[in-house]
Amino acid sequence: MGTTGTPTKITQGSQTKGGIGESTLRPDGTLKVTGEFAYSSDMWHEDMLWGQILRSTVAHAEIVSLDTAEALATSGVYAVLTYDDLPTDVKNYGLELQDTPVLAHGKVRHHGEPVALVAADHPETARRAAAKIKVEYRDLPVVTDEASALAPDAVLVHEGRDDEYARIVPHQNIVHRQPIVRGDAAAAAARADVIVTGEYTFGMQDQAFLGPESGLAVPAEDGGVDLYIATQWLHKDLDQIAPVLGLPKDKVRMTLSGVGGAFGGREDISMQIHACLLALRTGKPVKMVYNRFESFFGHVHRHPAKLFYEHGATKDGKLTHMKCRIVLDGGAYASASPAVVGNASSLSVGPYVVDDVDIEAIALYTNNPPCGAMRGFGAVQACFAYEAQMDKLAAKLGMDPVEFRQLNAMEQGTLLPTGQVVDSPAPVAEILRRVKARPLPPERQWESSEGADVRQLPGGLSNTTHGEGVVRGVGYAVGIKNVGFSEGFDDYSTARVRMEVVAGEPVVTVHTAMAEVGQGGVTVHAQIARTELGVTQVTIHPADTRVGSAGSTSASRQTYVTGGAVKNSCEAVREKVLELGRRKFGSYHPAWATAELLLEGGKVVTDGGEVLADLVDVLQDEAVDIELEWRHRPTEAFDLVTGQGNGHVQYSFAAHRAVVEVDTELGLVKVIELACAQDVGKALNPLSVVGQIQGGTTQGLGIAVMEEIVVDPRTAKVKNPSFTDYLIPTILDTPTIPVDVLELADDHAPYGLRGIGEAPTLSSTPAVLAAIRNATGLELNKTPVRPEHLTGT
C-alpha cells in the first residue's frame, strides 16, 4: 500500500461509509435548499457601495472624448474611474494573451466593452450616474467575419501585436492557427469511392449560468483587498488582478463565494478588477452584481464557427481521408482562443480512424463579442460538422449510420491525427450500440381517447397542432473530448489535507482552491478522503488563495486533477499517520512492521482485518497536515506546422440517440427523448455523474434548436441580450434523458476515472440535428435550427 502501485487500485478498502462509488449527497445541499447558501451576489457589508460599469454602445470606435463631471457630481456617487485612473503601468489582462483593457483606452473593440466605473450608495444611483457619463465615439469600420478580417486592406483589430502567435499567423487578424497534416489526404482521396463535402455554420452560444457575475471587494487596513468572488479559477484571477492593482499577490486575498454555475463563462475576469479598483479608491467595500442584460456582455461566449469538411470512403464503408478547415470567430479579445483552436484542430476528425488528414483551424480577431471557454471548448463545433458528414457518407453508401460509424470507430491503440496513441479504453462502437439497442419511445404518445394532449406535441400549450403535419425522426451522434489542459500546459492541482482528533473523533479537513461551481467537487473530495483515510467526518474548507492553485474548474478536469491531488495528499497523510503509529505502538505488535496496513473505520487495521490501534490514540493531540501539488502525465505542444505531438492526457466519449417530432408546417421541433451512453472510467459519485451528463446533454439540445446570440453583421452589435430573446431550454423543452454509464478504467487516472462534464454536450447537438434531418429530409447545416429552416419560408 502507499503511494506506489497501480493508480487504479483503490489502495484503501471500501469499508468506510460515504467513500468513492457511493451516491453521497452534496455537503452544501441543505444550505442550497434553505436559501442560506451565500452566493457571490448575496454578499453584504455594512457601509458598502455599489459598483456599476459603463459599457460601450458601439462595437468599434475611437473615443473622442469622455466627460465624467456630471456623473461625479451626482449625489450618492463616491467615485468615477476611467482608464486614466488605473494605478499602474499594467492596464491589460487576459487568460492567454494580455490583450484585454481593464477600461477602454481611446478605443473600443466590441459592443459592451467597459469604458468607465461608478461607485455609489445605491445600485440605481450608480446606474443613473453611469448614464450621465458623456462619451463621444467616432465609428471605425467593423470586422465581422472571415472576409472582412482577412482582406488585404482589413482594419486590424489589434495593431502592433507582439504576442507569441503574432509572428506565426498568416494575418494579424488571426489570433492563432493550428494545422495538422498526417499521411497524404490528396492521394487517399483518389482511393475513395464516395466523397462528401459540407459547409457548416455554428451559432454563438452563451453559457447562461444563472448566478450573475458578482462579488464584494473589501479594502483592508494593510492597503490590500479581500475579494469574495464567483470564479472558475481563483489563482489565475489573482495572477491577472494583482498587477493591475499594483499590489503583491499576498495583499489580494480571494475567497470563493457561492458560484451559480459557470460552464466556461467564469474562466475569464469579469468584474473582479473593477470592484477592487473602486474599493481601493473609495476605501469602502464595493459590491458589484451584473443584471442579465449586462451578463450577456460581461463574459465570453462559445465561438461561432464556419466549418468546411471533405470526407471520402470506400464502397465497403471505410473512411479514406478527411480535409477540413475550421474558422472560429474569437471576437475582439483573445481569451482562450488559442487553446480552443488547438482542441478544434486536434479533435476535428472525431472518434474515428482516419490515417490521411489535412486539417486547419484558425480563430479570428473581429469586432464581435469576445469568445472563449464554454463546455466542450472547440470540440463541440467540430462534432456538429463531422457527425453531419458521417450521416451524409452513410446515406451515400446506403449504409446504416450507426454501423458506418462503428466500422470506423477508434479504439484503444488508435493513432490520432496528431500522432498520439489512444492508450486507454475508447468504447466508441459500444456506446453507439447501447444507445441504438434501447427501445424507442412509443409513437404518437400525445394521442388519447380524449384527443391530443398538446403538451406533448411541438408547440405545446400554444396549441399549434393536434398531430397534423407532425413527423418523427431518429438520429445518432458520438463525440470525443479531451480531458484536462493540453498542449504542454503544467496542469497541476494542490490539496492540503489535515487529520486531527476533534471531540474524541478523528476528523479530516480538505482544503483546496477548487472552484465548486455546482459540479459536485466538494462531494467527491469528501468521498476520496473517507476512502483513503477511513474516517467518517470530513470537513471541506472554503476555497481560497491561502492554499496553492487547483487549476481551473473546466476541461472536465477537476475530479481527475484536484481529485487526484486530494487522493495524493491523503496518501501522504496516511503514511505519516502510520509512521506515528509505528513509533508509538510498533513494539506491541509485529504486524506494524510486516503487514499491509489500512485506515478503516477510524482505526489502523491490517489487510487481514485485525485492529492495531485507534486513530484517536495514534494521533492524540497531534495533527498531521500536508499540502502537496499533484500533476497528471505531461503533455506536449502541437508542432506549429504539422500538428504532431502528444498533446492530450485523456479522452472522454459520449454517444446520443435523439428522437424528435417535427411540425413540418410550422417548423416546430419537440425532442421526445435524448438517450446517452458514456464511458466515465469510474463513477466516483453515480448520482452526480448522471446529473452532469443530463445537464451537458441539455445544453447541447439548446444549441440544436434555440440558443444563439444574434450579432448584427452590419454593426457587430448584440441583438438579444436577455432571457426574453435568448432562449435556453425550459423543463417543457427538455425530454427524458436516459443515461447508460460505462465504467472502463483508464489505468493512468486516479481510480481509473474519466473527466465527464463536457462529452455529452458534444454529441447531443448533432444527434438532434440528425433526427430532424431524418424527420424532414432537409440538409440543415446550421445551428440552431429555426422554424424558417424547416418550412423554407
Binding site: T34, G35, G261, L687, T724, I728, T730, I731
Partner: protein, 200 residues
C-alpha cells in the same frame, strides 16, 4: 417610502425604500433574505419566485410598494410554511382541492429561526429534502424559486403527472441539471407526501 408587509409570518418594515425598488431587492438587500435569487431580474427565469398572498410570483417584477400589507413566503420560510400547512390540515393530506393556502391560514404561522451558517436546526420541507435526495441541486441558483413553485404545485395537486410537473415548473429555468432530477425530486416529494397522508 416605508413598506410594511409580512414575510414568512413575521411583520417586517423596510425604510427608505426607493419607489423603483422591487420586492426582490427589498427582500435581498434590506431584509437580509437573499434566498430568493436574482438571475435575470426580468421575470423570465423564476429564480426569485416567492408567494404573495399564496400566489407564486416573480418578486423581481413586483414593486416593493405593491407588497404593502401583504403576506410573502420565501424559500427561507418554506420549511415552516409546509410544516404548519401539514399540521393545520393543509394540502399535505391531499384533501384540499385547488384552493391553495388561504390568507387566514397563511397568517397563522411564522418561521422559526435557523443557524444561518449551517442551515442546521430547521426541519426541511418534504420538497426541500427531496431535492437534496434526488440530486436535483447542482449550482443551486435556480433551486429556491423551483422549491417555492414546486411546493405550491404539490399543495394544489398532490399527485401530479409528469406533464403537470413540467407545466407548473415551466417558468423556472435551470442550466445545470437538464431537469431530469428535478422531476425525480418532485415525484419523490409527492410520493412521500402521499405515504404520510396514508399513515395519518
Amino acid at each position: 417610502m416605508r413598506v410594511n408587509f409580512t414575510v414568512n409570518g413575521r411583520p417586517q418594515e423596510a425604510d427608505d425604500v426607493w419607489e423603483g425598488e422591487s420586492l426582490l431587492y427589498v427582500l435581498r438587500e434590506r431584509l437580509g433574505l437573499p434566498g430568493s435569487k436574482n438571475a435575470c431580474e426580468q421575470g423570465e427565469c423564476g429564480s426569485c419566485t416567492v408567494r404573495l398572498d399564496g400566489v407564486p410570483v416573480c418578486s423581481c417584477l413586483v414593486a416593493a410598494g405593491q407588497a404593502e400589507g401583504r403576506e410573502v413566503v420565501t424559500v427561507e420560510g418554506l420549511a415552516d410554511f409546509a410544516k404548519q400547512r401539514a399540521e393545520h390540515g393543509g394540502c399535505a393530506t391531499g384533501a384540499c382541492g385547488t384552493e391553495g393556502t388561504s390568507l387566514q391560514d397563511a397568517r397563522r404561522w411564522s418561521a422559526r429561526p435557523q443557524d444561518s451558517q449551517t442551515g442546521e436546526g430547521g426541519e426541511l420541507a418534504p420538497v426541500q429534502q427531496a431535492f437534496i435526495d434526488a440530486g436535483a441541486v447542482q449550482c443551486g441558483f435556480c433551486t429556491p424559486g423551483l422549491l417555492v413553485a414546486a411546493d405550491e404545485m404539490l399543495e394544489r395537486n398532490p399527485s401530479p403527472t409528469d406533464a403537470d410537473i413540467r407545466e407548473a415548473l415551466s417558468g423556472n429555468l435551470c442550466r445545470c441539471t437538464g431537469y431530469e432530477k428535478i422531476l425525480d425530486a418532485v415525484r419523490l416529494a409527492a410520493a412521500r407526501q402521499a405515504e404520510l397522508a396514508e399513515g395519518v
